[in-house]
Amino acid sequence: MRIALCIALLTAMAGAALATEISLDQRRSGYSFMSADTKAMQDEDTANPGMLFVLDGEALWKRKAGSADKACADCHSDARVSMKGVAAHYPAFEKTLGKPVDLEGRINLCRSNHQQASPFAYESRELLALTAYVAQQSRGVPIAAGDDPDLAPFVEKGHALFVQRQGQLNLACANCHDDNWDKKLAGSPITQGQPTGYPLYRLEWQALGSLQRRLRACITGIRAQAYDYGSPELVELELYLMTRARGMPVETPAVRP
């Protein structure tokens, strides 16, 4: 009885801690902070540099690879059907590993387990292209990550990382993206840090990049030690960001300044 009450109290407190989160009707994609020119670049497939990667991804989807000599398409056939809505649910819980994997991680599991090929390196052109191709099949689909009850402790870890002050500048993600998203940092909008468009083409990078690359840039920006690509912490942050963005449409491949 006592324990049940404690749990109820703790749950209520966790609810209160999350109460500063941005409410659904206030959630705004980074898109809405951009100039008309940059918006037009994202909206127009022929002008969107991310579409070149999507086309590469489509070619890779059909290419046989690994000692299984199988293409993604051999098992998943038409991505427009089989992959529709998939990215909106990632990161997802992977039972065999007992932890969440992001979309890049899932694709690499298919590389090693089903194609018997070596996994692609993080931020390699191939992995970005395939991820963009798979995620583009969810364009417009509302984000619905984090439903699986097995994910709950990992969402909580991601949230803890989000509100943890760190680095020489001693700032938390939440200090900027929850508390000051309507303000400007040295003249440029801070935005809510929504993960809706990844992988995306960033003009500053002159390249397509993953959500992990963006997170590492923010972590280095506050002069903290960036977590390694593929580390549990980055996946937990991605997972928390995706649950925080619930209901927002996937935009991949987005464009950002």
Binding site: D179, K183, K184, A186, G187, R223, A224
Partner: protein
Amino acid sequence: MQPYTVVGDAISASLTGTKGDATHGRALVVERSSTCILCHSGPFPEQAFQGDLAPNLSGSGGRWSEGQLRLRLVDAAHLNAATIMPSYYRVDGLTRVGASWRGKPILSAEQIEDVVAYLMTLKN
């Protein structure tokens, strides 16, 4: 790290024992790596990109004493634990500082004194 004493809301003694150089202090404040104008704006007409997360620095030297400005720069969190303003002369109590910045304050004692000297010239 130089030792210092907080009395009330101020550190009245210079960290270096000497007065800072206001001209150098201005250059530091507008320098991007010092981070001030990521958050603050101020009387810097030549700077196209300034932040709006924090008060305009104009008039700081009129609103605050030298000792108050010194403590604000050294450890703003001492004044307000919830502030987003970093502590510029502090190396302890921080989490996961990146390897290139570990064990070093954001600004040196000399630089703190230069910035204090500059802010004191901003009377209105």
